[in-house]
Symmetry: C2
Subunit: 218 residues, 2 copies
Amino acid sequence: MGSPSTATRVNSSRHRSRPVPETRYDRRLAEILTYATEVFCRKGYEGASMRDLSRESGMSLAGLYYYFESKERLLYLIQKHTFATIVQRLKSRLEGVADAEERIRIFILNHLEYFLANQAAMKVLSHEDEVLKNGFGAEVAAIKREYYRICVGLLDDLKRERGGQFSTRLAVLSLFGMMNWIYTWHNPRVDADAASIANEMGDIFLRGVMTTKGRREK
Amino acid sequence: MGSPSTATRVNSSRHRSRPVPETRYDRRLAEILTYATEVFCRKGYEGASMRDLSRESGMSLAGLYYYFESKERLLYLIQKHTFATIVQRLKSRLEGVADAEERIRIFILNHLEYFLANQAAMKVLSHEDEVLKNGFGAEVAAIKREYYRICVGLLDDLKRERGGQFSTRLAVLSLFGMMNWIYTWHNPRVDADAASIANEMGDIFLRGVMTTKGRREK
DNA sequence: ACTTAGTTCGAACGAACGTTCGAATTACCT
DNA sequence: AGGTAATTCGAACGTTCGTTCGAACTAAGT
C-alpha cells in the first residue's frame, strides 16, 4: 500500500541512475504546493479550507492527503521551501562582493525581487507567521533567524566601515518592515519593478543609517 | 423584546439629562470589544471562534449576539474604533505645530505610542486587513485612506520646505512599513519605549528622505 | 407588588471543517 | 499480457463552526 505522506523522500525511486533528479511524486507535490500557496495567500491559512485547495488544484480532497499528512504540515512545507530558497539565492549573490554598502543593496534587491516574483509565497510567509505549532514552527523560525543574522552582519560591517551611530537591531527591523510591508500595497500595474523600488528604498535606508554623506554612484 | 444588536445607539436611554453619557449597554459593549480584541490578536480573526470569545469574556455564546449581529460586524467595530481614535489623537497633537519635520516626528510618535499601548488592537488592524467584506470593509478603508493622505501631506510639506527628491508614495509606504512591522518583534521587556523608538525611526527616516543634512536639536 | 423593558442563557440548528479508509484506477516493469 | 506498486477517489467519520430561539433572569418605574 502507498501513502508515504511525508514529503521527505528525495529520490528513492527505482534503480535509475539517469540524470533526472525529479520523481513524478516530487513534481506533483511541487505543483500542489504552488496551488496551495496561491490559495493561502488569497484567503489566509485559517480561512482556506482543504476543500478550497481540492477545488483549486483539481485533485480530490482525499488525494491531497497522499502528499502530506495534515494542513499544518502543508503550510510548513511552503514556508520552509520559500525561505530556504531566498536564503540560498542571497548567499550566492553576495559571493565576491566586498563593499559593505553594495552588499546591503544586494540584500535589499534580492529580498524585493523574490518578494515580488513570488508575492503569494511571501505573503503566506510574512502573514502566517505564528500559526505553526512547536514542532514545525521551530524549524522555520531557525531559517528566519539565520536570515536575520545575515542582515545584522551586513549592517555591522557597514557601521565599522563608515560611521553611523544607530542600534543595529532597530535598523534591521526597520528595514525588514519597509520591505515586507510591500505585500500590502504593491500593485504590478501601478508600481515600479523590484529593481527601482530596491534602489529607492536602499537610498532612503542607507542615507538614513549613515552619517557619512558620501554616496558613490554605480 | 430587546435585541438591538446594532451597536449604533448612542444615548437613547431614559429621560435622563444628567451628564453621564454612557449607558450600561455602551459600557458592556466596550468591555466585550476589549476581550475580543485580545483574542483576535492572539489567535487571528479566522482562528478565534465565538466560543473562544465566550469563554474569555465570561459571557454566554448567545449573550454575545445581543451586542452585535455577527462575528464580522464585531471585527468591524474593533477596527473602526481603533482607527478613528488614532486619527483623532493625531489631529489634536498636530494642532499649532508648524515645522514640517516636527510634524512628521509627531506623526511617528503618535503612531508608535498608540501602537505599543494598544498592541492587540493594532495587530488586529494591520493583520486582519482584507477579511471584511464589501459593506464593512469600505468604511474602514476610507478611514485608513484618510490617515494615509495625512501622512502624504506631511511629507509633501517637508519636500517643499527642505529639498529631497523622493517618491512621496514610496516614502510614505516605507514609513508605514517600518512602524507597522513593530507588531512582529516588539518585546516590552527587551525593547525601548515608544518615544525612544519613534526618535530613532524618525532619525533614520528623515535623514534618509532629506538631502539637506541639517538636523536641528530641540 | 406588579409591569415592563433590558439583559443573559442553555440547547439546538445546519453547514463546513480536517481527516480517514477501502476500493478503484493508473503507470510502470518484465 | 499480467502483476505489482503508486496514485486517486467517493463517501463517510466525528468535531467544531457561526448563528438562532424561546425561556429565564435582572433592574427600574409606578
